[in-house]
Symmetry: C2
Subunit: 324 residues, 2 copies
């Protein structure tokens, strides 16, 4: 896949499957250790939602702000040097203000929503946005069609992800997940081309939440099958450290789903897909529980850019060893 004007003629060498915050950290590491155009990222859009008439794509935006160094690193989402004049006014008017819409961030939503209304595809818009933000990697939404992660709760409700995550702060107990619209969604042709190009050195499953970040991607017909049919090493980086997620409700979700909060549970989510798994040194004892799956135990906590780059390098070298 060669975007117009990129001047790049070869196909990407590494494909990452990624959600937002945690995934974007490793994406950034990969972006820095690779020639940027050698990196392709397929991003979860199961969190996307309509809010105040805007189409909001939280994971795509987190990845975009992270790779372009415009993200609020402390918060983990949104823009750095953000202002909140609009949201404060909206709150004063009694309008819907549960979702944090910064003034700059809002421009991205207005821009994307306007182009969607004009009939442009999410993939085209994403390419245009990332280019405007100066990101020199291939970032693809998992589908142009809407695929919405629905959270089924113990109290019998079906909540779109952002309602569960932001509005209800992950309070409702979970009984399951549905990826609404997945059956009729189509994988991006560019993604299938990348997987089938023969040029991929590795596929990295970023340390994102399997239920609400990676499985939605794999729910799009054709993506899992294309990965499984390839002989590219597929390496997952576990989002758990010592049975806890660095950020977000993953550990709790596992327990509510009746699963232990262990690396084994993560590996089971990707059954039949993985060539290897990267876990934190804290959990190196887990290697035994992962049966025949090759395991690399390294420091997976990413506080600094150096941590991100080192982990990215470790993961790539591990994948290379799996290939040999």
């Amino acid at each position: 896949m060669t975007p117009a004007g990129s001047g790049k003629t070869s196909s990407p060498k590494v494909l990452a499957l990624s959600g937002g915050i945690g995934g974007a950290k490793l994406d950034l590491g990969l972006y820095h250790v690779l020639d940027p155009w050698d990196l392709a990222i397929v991003a979860n859009t199961g969190d996307d939602f309509e809010h105040l008439g805007l189409t909001i794509c939280p994971d795509l935006d987190t990845i975009m702000y992270t790779l372009s160094a415009t993200s609020d690193e402390a918060k983990g989402w949104g823009r750095k040097d953000e202002t909140w004049a609009c949201l404060e006014q909206l709150k004063a008017l009694g309008g819907s203000s549960w979702f944090g819409l910064g003034d700059k961030d809002l421009a991205v939503h207005l821009y994307r929503s306007a182009l969607l209304r004009e009939g442009k595809s999410l993939g085209e818009i994403t390419a245009s946005l990332f280019a405007r933000f100066g990101v020199k990697a291939h970032v693809l939404p998992m589908a142009d069609q809407a695929v919405g992660t629905i959270i089924h709760t113990r109290d019998g409700r079906d909540l779109p992800f952002q309602h569960y995550f932001v509005k209800e702060r992950c309070a409702p107990e979970i009984t399951g997940f549905t990826y609404q619209g997945a059956q009729t969604a189509k994988p991006p042709a560019a993604l299938l081309d990348i997987i089938r190009s023969g040029d991929l050195r590795a596929v990295i499953v970023a340390p994102s939440n399997p239920f609400v970040s990676i499985n939605p991607i794999l729910s799009v017909p054709g993506i899992r099958a294309a990965l499984a049919a390839s002989n590219i090493p597929v390496v997952a980086v576990s989002p758990l450290i010592g049975g806890a997620a660095v950020k977000g409700p993953l550990a709790r979700m596992l327990v509510e789903m009746g699963l232990p909060a262990t690396n084994r549970s993560i590996a089971d989510q990707y059954k039949g897909l993985l060539s290897g798994m990267v876990i934190d040194t804290t959990d190196k004892g887990d290697a035994d529980t992962l049966q025949d799956l090759p395991v690399l135990a390294v420091n997976t906590l990413m506080n600094s850019l150096e941590d991100r780059m080192r982990l990215a390098q470790d993961v790539l070298e591990f994948a290379d060893r799996l290939r040999e």
Copy 2:
């Protein structure tokens, strides 16, 4: 008409027909010299338009910001202490940025648009917005239905008002106007109640542009007839001073329409409706050209709040004399 919770039991005493900038100046004068709940304003919504998925009502907002002392008086539109982070980012992305959307102003558009999508009427939303801004006067959009002022140009185009006014900066030569949707629009019941209440002391046609501010209001079926059928003095304040408009393209529009830029041309626009006309002292010689129409010549230029209040008082007293 008594809005819930206003604690006001009597009907308004003065009704103003108003466009944005110029009209809002006199509205503010009336708001200050009257008991505020004694003032009703019917606002032009012919300038309303859809932009970036938002329903924008420039005249309603200008009136709201003006009466609530939150307007940018120097600019004449928008909010004071406004910030522009969103618009600047939108511009950087190559998005549509020809319309000046401030960050605070944007919240009003998001709020209104969301409620319209939920099925609330423009009238209800307007009442709620003005209440949130602390305005204690009855402000009604001329109709809940969309009525769009279309500018017909010499080069054969039909431009929605904001495109003509903001995007093309009034450059195209005008050949006529259409108020699209007017035929099927309905006047607000509250407006007809006010006109028929028997409580009105005066109807003031604010110094707004007849073609693109006042005639759109009068194009809504029933409004002109209700005014004509009443015996309330209807007084127009001319927007011209010495054949020029204080602001905006009125003088030019008159010339392009083949009409002299005179108070007579303004009066002709309101034929059969007026009990009297207020013109600037500069133009007191025009009284002869206005035939039998009673004329008050005073200083109509409104630079300060005092100017606005003085003119409002002059106009009200003139209307009272016309009644006697």
